[in-house]
């Protein structure tokens, strides 16, 4: 059962081959048995899961329910879940139980999906390797000594290891796509505003976007259809009809123009990854797409701009964790100042503190214009590069990350090297565009991801190209050794 995709599981549930209870129990059993190696879960919510599965079975028995009714999923521990701990990978929220569900959680729940637990992540989504989590690093199911990527590393590892058929993630600078690439699964970062951020703990509000992670593009389509849509509780959420994503994925690619940004194939890209991407280009060419070289001239500015804007917003977003109302509070504070200093000093990890400090600095009087304001100007230039490119092409194609998964500990002492692993994903967040990462092969036994980027709200196009590619390849169907 664990090898099946959502589409296959839904068919099995519909025809009565198995129940949601059986399916959920199977997932819980695999988590119990295999997660000690991976550390993909922070919380497993067995009781709630079985209750939800029971409800889903009744719904199905009554002849109702949709594609996701009774399907087990995991939520990144950044999404607030009523009654189940939401830690955000931090000691600061290790005791936090939200009295509300995030919009995404609410929607999936309403669609009948069964939450089995909350997945590990970089602390407050700040990291590219899952090594900043207060709950310890996640291991890559393909290579135990390698990182799963981050920050949605727990979700990626859980899906890759077939512990759950799908999971939610969030993507601020590549946090869905990069771990999807490094773990060999499919992940979609929707257009900014497509999915409500309500109840999703903020890292950098103007960049954060929730999205689905699964094994196939078809599954992503089913998930996105439920997750997307207007929510008046998020002012940045866009009121716009949600297409039936799964309906359009089979369209032929003939007549489609795919752009290859030359800046994504230059120095810094590992040759092994480059070769696999070239092979993928041949696949889409064979499927009828036209290939065209394009330029995104400000690409090299994306990482520096991101590391001004994201920390600036984060420094403010994380101010609420002060020990006053909820979350961690230091023991026996002497006075207010002491409570703030020790609560935040003890509650946050090193990377979070580093970014709060950077963010505080770039917003300070006297530096604001030189850093934050300048970064916003460059952000617009980066966005304009994409807008111009989409006048010529329908989809942009390139690598998701410059290398396959690196080893645990390899980049922890050098933050800048770590930041560069998001060099191809960050610009997409700055521009607010949707992008997809799908498996494109293996470099020395480690998965490599292919990134597809489309115009605003053209997720259908991405899913279409990704699905057609997966019809021609079987990278997405490979199972990590030991997890068969």
């Amino acid at each position: 059962m664990h090898k099946k995709t959502i589409a296959q599981l839904a068919a099995g549930l519909r025809s009565g081959d198995f129940t949601s209870i059986e399916l959920t129990q199977a997932c819980l059993e695999r988590i119990r048995r295999l997660d000690s190696k991976l550390n993909a879960f922070i919380t497993v919510s067995e009781e709630q899961a079985l209750a939800a599965a029971q409800t889903a079975d009744s719904t199905r028995a009554a002849g109702r329910g949709g594609a996701l009714t009774g399907i087990p999923i995991a939520h990144k521990d950044i999404f607030c879940t009523q009654g189940v701990k939401t830690s955000c990978g931090s000691r600061m929220l290790d005791n936090f139980i939200a009295p509300y569900d995030a919009h995404v959680v609410e929607r999936l729940k309403a669609a009948g999906a069964v939450m089995v637990g909350k997945t590990n992540m970089d602390e407050f989504a700040m990291g590219s390797s899952n090594e900043t989590s207060f709950f310890g690093p996640v291991h890559n199911p393909w290579v135990d000594t390698a990182v799963p990527g981050g920050s949605s590393g727990g979700s990626a590892a859980a899906v890759a290891a077939r512990l759950v058929p799908a999971a939610t993630g969030t993507d601020t600078g590549g946090s869905i796509r990069q771990p999807a690439a490094l773990c060999g699964i499919s992940g979609l970062k929707p257009t900014y505003g497509r999915v409500s951020r309500y109840g999703m703990i903020a890292f950098a509000s103007s960049l954060d976007q929730g999205g689905p992670m699964a094994r196939t593009v078809e599954d992503l389509a089913w998930l996105l259809e439920v997750m997307a849509g207007f929510d008046p509780r998020d002012s940045t959420c866009v009121e716009r009809p949600v297409p039936r994503y799964a309906a359009g994925i089979d369209a032929p690619l003939t007549g489609l123009t795919i752009g290859l940004p030359k800046e994504y194939f230059g120095a810094g890209l590992s040759p092994a990854v480059g070769d696999l991407i070239q092979a993928a280009i041949e696949v889409v060419r064979r499927l009828g797409a036209q290939i065209k070289e394009i330029s995104l001239p400000n690409s090299h500015l994306a990482v520096p701009v991101y590391y001004v804007i994201a920390p600036a917003e984060a420094s403010s977003n994380l101010s609420r964790y002060d020990g006053v109302r909820y979350g961690y509070r230091c023991i026996q504070p002497r006075d207010l100042e002491d409570m703030y200093e020790r609560t935040r000093g003890e509650g946050f990890g090193a990377e979070v503190k580093r970014r709060i400090m950077v963010g505080t600095y770039v917003l300070s009087a006297g530096y604001y214009d030189a850093y934050y304001l300048k970064a916003q100007q460059v952000r617009r230039m980066i966005r304009d590069d994409f807008i111009r490119a989409f006048e010529e092409v329908d989809v942009i194609l390139g690598p998701t990350a410059p290398t396959a998964a690196f080893d645990l500990g390899e980049k922890t002492s050098d933050p800048v090297q770590m930041y560069l692993s998001d060099i191809y994903t960050i610009a997409v967040n700055l521009a607010g565009l949707p992008a997809l990462s799908i498996p494109a092969g293996f470099a020395a036994g480690r998965p490599v991801g292919l990134q597809l980027i489309s115009n605003f709200f053209a997720e259908e196009r991405l899913l279409n190209v990704g699905h057609r590619y997966q019809q021609e390849t079987d990278w997405h169907a490979r199972i990590p050794p030991g997890y068969e």
Binding site: P99, R233, D234, S235, R320, D322, L336
Partner: protein, 482 residues
């Protein structure tokens, strides 16, 4: 040396919306602590602000009343600082692009002079919660009911030159927001709070002196005192060869003095930046026109009309238009008794005095405009003398019913029956033969004595003019002494 004070005010006005500016929690005052704070007001993880449209409409209304520009696009910014009653660690406010800019307010000074005070800007923001220290030991308690309550901060130009002008400006703005029904203006409850920026300079100097800011002064009286204290303090400091330090000061109401709270160096760097959770606020011309249609007659226009239509003088018109409720009350009384002057005198005299004594607002007056109007009608139709009318007013105030009922019950109807009065007068003259003799001999001052006696005999109910007339007749042909 002669000094000139330069004063600008920043006034925080709580908007009378039903719910908070960025959440659906209620804004009512006085609820049990933390019962009117939802997840958004508590700054819980992941929740997001959604702008209250009513607050925007109120800001537009105020902007229009101030003759200001309504920004087609304004931006909410985060003002970052740590404080236990600031749940998110930042206040959502407006910084570089406020919703209202460039307005004015005219104030009336002594001698009928009017002065224009510039309004630099007005911006929307959320209020913080409250830290409670009283009744707790070793700890501070936090009440977040007020957190997220909508405020509009109105920043004046440094156009005021005395505490008196500052208070006149503050009162005018206070009256305006109540006219517009965008705030209850309740100063005890903190709905209308003032920060004053004060500097002094030698008379004739163009450059501004170093200013201090006196924070959170919450009554007209305290604003006047704080400003006067601060002006005096700065002058004395400068005359002694010292320098004014740019700082924030607090007004100590028990000692009537200001003292330093923090200097410029200790001031927070608020790290303002646009709030990424909120889109820029875009106001369409159609909305502005819609709000414009809801504007009531404004105080200045009403004041002009009172002078023109009722023939009231500038002072009375200013007093009677100070609040919309007072003006409405006056107009109702005037209409009922058909004598605007009489109505004005009673509203500003008897009624205002009684309200003041009881500490009541015009809207809480136990004597309605209808009741007062009827009472004044009874003066006009000679049923009551002015003096007795005051007694009736007091009875009405104490809940004895309307004027006619009180007159009936207490038998206060004015004596206008000629023959009845003549009988009383004859008795009085007969009882005071000596005085009558003296009067007739030319001691005309004694007429007053006789009037008094008649009034006493009739318990004040005799019609005074008729008494005068009849007395002169009976006492025999003497001229009235004016």
């Amino acid at each position: 040396m002669d000094w000139e004070a330069v004063i600008g005010l920043e006034i925080h006005i709580q908007l009378a919306t039903k719910t908070k500016i960025f959440s659906g929690a209620a804004t009512a005052y006085g609820a049990a602590p933390n019962t009117q704070a939802c997840a958004i007001d508590l700054g819980m993880p992941g929740v997001l602000p959604v702008l209250n449209e009513q607050a925007v409409r109120m800001a537009v209304k105020l902007g229009l009343a101030l003759g200001a520009t309504i920004a087609p696009r304004s931006v909410f910014a985060r003002k970052n600082y740590f404080y236990p009653d600031l749940p998110k660690g930042y206040q959502i406010s407006q910084y570089e692009l406020p919703v209202v800019a460039d307005g004015e307010l005219n104030i009336e000074l002594d001698g009928g002079v009017s002065k224009r005070i510039g309004i630099i800007r007005a911006h929307l923001e959320e209020d913080a919660g409250k830290s409670l220290h009283e009744g707790f030991e070793q700890v501070t308690a936090i009440d977040l009911n007020r957190a997220g309550t909508p405020l509009i901060e109105v920043v004046s130009a440094p156009d005021m030159r005395s505490a008196k002008e500052a208070v006149a400006y503050m009162k005018k703005l206070h009256s305006l927001v109540r006219y517009l029904e965008i705030s209850d203006g309740n100063m005890q409850e903190g709905s209308f709070r003032c920060d004053a920026n004060i500097s002094v300079r030698p008379l004739g100097e163009q450059r501004l002196g170093t200013r201090t800011e006196v924070k959170n002064v919450n009554s007209f009286r305290f604003v006047e005192r704080a400003i006067n204290y601060e002006i005096q303090r700065q002058i004395e400091l400068l005359e002694a060869g010292g320098e004014v330090v740019q700082e924030t000061r607090l007004f100590d109401t028990s000692r009537n003095e200001t003292r330093s709270m923090r200097t410029k160096e200790e001031a927070n760097d608020y790290r303002y930046f646009p709030d990424p959770d909120l889109l820029p606020l875009e106001i369409e011309p159609a909305l502005i026109e819609e709000v414009r249609k809801t504007l009531p007659e404004l105080p200045d226009a009403k004041r002009e009309r009172f002078m023109r239509d009722y023939g009231l003088d500038a002072y009375d018109s200013t007093v009677l238009t100070a609040s919309r409720a007072l003006a409405d009350y006056f107009e109702a009384v005037a209409a009922r008794c058909a004598d605007a002057k009489l109505a004005g005198n009673w509203v500003m005299g008897e009624l205002a005095g009684a309200l003041n004594k009881a500490g009541l607002d015009i809207t809480e007056a136990p004597v309605s405009s209808e009741m007062l109007g009827v009472l004044l009608q009874r003066i006009k139709d000679n049923t009551l003398s002015g003096k007795i009318a005051k007694e009736v007013f007091e009875a009405m105030w104490n809940g004895e019913g309307g004027a006619d009922a009180v007159i009936e019950q207490r038998g206060l109807k004015q004596l206008t029956d000629r023959s009845a009065l003549e009988a009383v007068i004859e008795e009085v003259i007969a009882a005071n033969p000596n005085q009558a003799q003296q009067y007739r001999a030319g001691k005309e001052k004694l007429l007053g004595f006789f009037v008094g006696q008649v009034m006493k005999a009739t318990k004040g109910q005799a019609h005074p003019q008729l008494v005068n007339e009849l007395l002169q007749e009976k006492l025999g042909g003497c001229k009235i002494i004016e």
